[in-house]
């Protein structure tokens, strides 16, 4: 991702270069300048998006929460296991396990949480 960001910076810097002296300006130059300005703005927006997407996830927090969610699911299912005749507890156990799976699936690839 870094080369892409560097390239975008360089392109944006070129596009944002200062105006030429008024004597040299023609209507063609002005049209080119406008187009370059628009391109620079567009690249700036792209750059902001890329920077936002590159913010690293807080892996210890993410992994801690996933671990907590799955531990709670185990506790619910342990209770359900002691009361097999209770459909409400069975449903809660299933819902808890689903939450645990869903949470694990949401862990970003950058985080390698240890599954217990």
């Amino acid at each position: 991702m870094k080369p892409a960001l560097t390239a975008l910076f360089l392109l944006a810097a070129c596009a944002c270069a200062g105006p030429r002296p008024a004597a040299e300006e023609s209507s063609g130059d002005r049209a080119i300048a406008r187009a370059e300005e628009q391109r620079a703005e567009e690249m700036e927006r792209t750059l902001s998006t890329l920077s936002a997407a590159e913010a690293p996830p807080d892996c210890p927090r993410v992994c801690g929460l996933v671990e907590q969610i799955c531990e709670l699911s185990q506790r619910i299912c342990a209770i359900s296991g002691r009361h097999r005749e209770d459909p409400d507890l069975t449903a809660r156990c299933a819902a808890g396990e689903q939450r645990c799976r869903r949470s694990r699936d949401r862990v970003p690839p950058a985080c390698s949480c240890q599954a217990r």
Binding site: D58, Q68, R75, I79, D88, R92, R99
Partner: protein, 154 residues
Amino acid sequence: MRTALILVFVGASLGCGSGATRWIGEAWRAHAEADILERSGDLERAGDLLQDLVSRPVPAGVAPQDARAVLQDTYARLANVALKRGKPADALHSADAGLQLGEAQDVFASSLRAFRGRALEALGRDAEAAREYEAAQAIAEALLSEALVDGGVR
């Protein structure tokens, strides 16, 4: 570690020299001392220290959300100490006291709900315990969503 971070954060936001800062300092020392007592196995004195902390009046200068954070964290720890001492009724009492201070979608509420569940389970109130665990899980899941957004992962 989490308690220390909370206390440092709250203390920093209060400035120096006020009764509020003194309260935060005392809370920090009580938790640090409770750490040592817990490690040495003296759970009773650790619990007494924490109980003393939550029994003191909160100085006027402490923002309500900061007071809630410090007290709920302490009540959760009290519940944990009580569970370790085999006193689930005391643990339930501490968790309830913490939750009575107000509930938000935060780590304090999730922690108190989980300890409440453990206390209820130890008291044989399984169905109620499962509901508490589920409530704690729902908060943790919401916190996970926040963590993924805050961390830039969408």
